[in-house]
Amino acid sequence: MKPPAFTYHRPATVADALDVLAEAGADSKVLAGGQSLVPILNMRLAAPGHLVDINRLYELAGIRCEPGAVRVGALARHAEVERDGAAYAVLPLLRQATRHVAHPAIRNRGTTVGSLVHADPAAELPAVLALLSGSVLLASAAGTRSVAAADFFVGPLESALRPGELAVEAAFPIPPPRTGTAWLEISRRRGDYAVCGVGALVTLDPDGRVAVARAGYVSVGPTPVVVDLTEAVAGHPWDAADWSAAGALATAGVRPEDDIHASAAYRKHLVGVLTSRACRAAASSAFSLATSAASPAAPSGASAASSGVADA
């Protein structure tokens, strides 16, 4: 298999990249990590006339932890996001989910923002962005615009990115204090696409009672699905809440379809089981975080370490 011929551009600045994209328009694709794009080219499912390689746009590299959000640049590889200790300390969900993205060899090259733009409903990071109500910053020769996750994921493999636009950064909001997260998924083999994946987020009130419970889902709809589970568990102490009721509520809130990998009924079953497990783990993590934050003797690294309880 050989990819179709294309004209290759390797701009040195974002401004140059935007000029090329403006000129080539819909006949161009951006090449970041290429871990989704190159297979598509190799299998000749797409034949763009121009490829704009952004791998030398070093201004888009890196991960920044700012008050309120972790900002991931368009050149940050999955592996960098997974390893980033500062991001993990404030937003453990990024690492919890990214560890499930394919295999290390793919994560070493593939980018987090590229995964968002690719908008595969079987991918982890779109669901994380949706669960956190994050956003993607898009730039074009005409200016920039920020698109909320709810508007960004339009359909399977379809995002709100327009011809001539470049996704330069994604903002993953940091949840409020006393929030724990967890990521669970079922796949045939480790690293395969999930048959069903769940990211859970639980926030406790100062008394350790559930204030908010929400989950984001992979592989159960045409776009990432987020279900608010708060009504099933609100006001109950985290360890006495009926997490299986949250699972039942989630099951009612998703409409998966049959495909070659699993029936819709099996996917619904997984949604229920994984939701209750992931929510319980997230709640436990939230409780540990709240406890360690309340204890003045706790070393500063303790909150990051204890949130690892929910890793799965």
Binding site: M1, K2, P3, P4, A5, F6, T7, Y8, R10, L31, G34, Q35, V38, P39, L41, N42, M43, L51, D53, N55, A79, A102, H103, P104, A105, I106, N108, R109, R189, R190, G191
Partner: protein
Amino acid sequence: MHEVTLTVNGIPRTVSVPARRLLSDCLRHDLGLTGTHVGCEHGVCGACTVLIDGEPMRSCLLFAVSVDGAEVTTVEGCRAPDGRLGPVQRAFHECHGLQCGYCTPGFVTTITAYLREHPDPSEEQAREAIGGNLCRCTGYQNIVASVLRAAAIQRGDSP
């Protein structure tokens, strides 16, 4: 055509390639390094895995022009400095970690990089480390054994 310079197994090489030349094909056809095998050509099988600046990546999912300037290590670069089998290759030989051998180059590069950061893996970790590489012959048992054996060789546990 694009002029691309790569340092392949320590040796600077310059080639002139079309933009669509995959790194896997560049290594095999332009540089004659046929140790890198091409399996699925869409990133699933892992046979074409090489190290780019020390990190394992799929060479079938990289354009040579895009990694201009990189250090590339192929299976040919995983041998010992004296030209004999490197520790991972030796372990595969000793543990019968290969049958047809088609997938082996990707395993050798992947494991070489993995053991640098994880010199003493458990069996479960060894299994996880090779999770992104497919083998249709061995059933993986002897490849897992090879990972553990290679780690032991590198640690100098046994002759």
